[in-house]
Amino acid sequence: MIEVSNLHKDFGLKQVLRGVDLKINTGESLTIIGQSGCGKSVLLKHLVGLLEPDKGTVFVDGEAITGAPRKQVYQIRKKFGVLFQSAALFDSMTVEENVGLGLFEHTAMTPGERAKRVADCLEMVSLNGTQKLKPAELSGGMKKRVGLARAIALNPQYILYDEPTTGLDPITADSINDLIIHLNEELHVTTIVVTHDMVSAFKISDRIVMLHLGTVIFSGTPSETKSTSVEMVRRFIEGEAEDKSVVTHY
């Protein structure tokens, strides 16, 4: 279980998080939505201790990762797989080395076992056979999927997905949705997804929360989300920029 309590984070004069409270139950599939720049990626980075908050705490299975000594932070991070918004592949390494790095560092696998696990992970994102390529030789969507393969390689308990389907065609996006569901339901991975893709959000999540102006303003199941009366959420789902009335002035 992850518990975020009263999380605050500023960058200079810019207040990004202003008291986020959020509880993510073990086994849950949670989607975080919110406008671009509202701090979703910043929130994810706090969950694995990549950013230190100005105020507030993040507990992972009851242990505070915020302010913990480095050794303990690393122990907690081993429970996580993270897919970065930019994929963040190591560009000096091949696809195989990217996906296998965690296995190499944290397990006693033989090279053969490692190659097998890497191939399995790549198979899950339909990229088996790309082992020897460098990230620069991949398309944007392929990088995302290699990033996903890397995130799942060590069988983490928690997976954080920062916009897993952005930049993918609808068919590949749907296969990624299925993979996320599979990992969540079959392997009981607690899933936290940040996305703008509402089709994906409705399909994969048990619960959707919305981040706005630095706090969580809404939390509900997909069907509650569809029928909500909360103005911001409704506009977000329907893709409306402003109040309709503004348009009539033109």
Binding site: L50, Y74, R77, F84, S86, L89, F90, G102, E105, R150
Partner: protein
């Protein structure tokens, strides 16, 4: 800094990274170092000849050039050239990893970026710098000998004759000790600045320049401090 020392055991457990950096930062610098060495030697031979002409016997050119090279010119010029090449390249590489979230990715995988990225580079540079300087010294001496005997018509006994009398192992050693500290400081500056890079490609460019400037300054200042301590 403290973390670098605490995690320096990684040199042994991550040997493959250390050796790769030795090749990339050290051995690949060798051609440049040899050219610098040869010309440094040549010019110090020539200048020595000009300055001594008419005042002192040419027999002293050999020892004078030798000392200038091993104590000062070899370590400092080599280090400045390498600092330019290596600290800037470390800063650029780590800086672009920082701005593209690769360092965050590494850290999120519970792999220490200090241990995995900084320690091998710093260790490799600290280890390779004295070796590079020793090679530069040798080539510089040959360069000086070439200029003096082939162009300025000294006999090789005039050049080499008195060197053994003035040869102190302490001089050579202290030159190499300087090189050790130059390698340590310029690679640490490269790593430090690389890890703190922000602001995209522009930030990486700025980090590269900053690393170069600071490591050159560090070398000149350290050179002075070490000179005061050693002699």
């Amino acid at each position: 800094m403290g973390r670098v020392i605490r995690e320096s055991g990684a040199v042994v457990s991550r040997r493959h990274l250390f050796f790769r950096e030795c090749v990339r930062l050290g051995i690949d610098s060798l051609p440049l170092v040899l050219i610098v060495g040869a010309f440094t030697g040549a010019v110090s031979g020539w200048q020595g000849h000009y300055q001594l002409e008419g005042y002192l016997p040419f027999d002293l050119i050999g020892p004078a050039t030798f000392k200038a090279i091993v104590l000062e010119l070899g370590p400092v010029l080599t280090a400045l050239i390498i600092a330019g090449r290596v600290s800037a390249s470390i800063a650029a590489e780590l800086g672009s990893m920082k701005v593209t979230e690769q360092i965050d990715a590494l850290e999120s995988m519970a792999i220490s970026s200090t241990r995995y990225l900084a320690v091998p580079r710093i260790a490799a540079m600290t280890f390779m710098m004295p070796i590079l300087v020793a090679q530069a010294n040798f080539v510089a001496l040959m360069g000086a000998a070439f200029v003096l005997t082939m162009i300025l018509n000294l006999t090789s006994t005039q050049f080499w004759g008195l060197i053994p009398n003035f040869f102190y192992i302490y001089d050579v050693f202290s030159g190499l000790l300087k090189a050790f500290f130059f390698g340590l400081s310029s690679s640490m500056i490269g790593c430090y600045i690389g890890f703190r890079t922000t602001g995209g490609a522009e930030g990486v460019g700025a980090a590269t320049i900053t690393a170069f400037v600071w490591s050159c300054l560090a070398i000149l200042i350290l050179d002075f401090l070490l000179a005061m301590m050693l002699f």
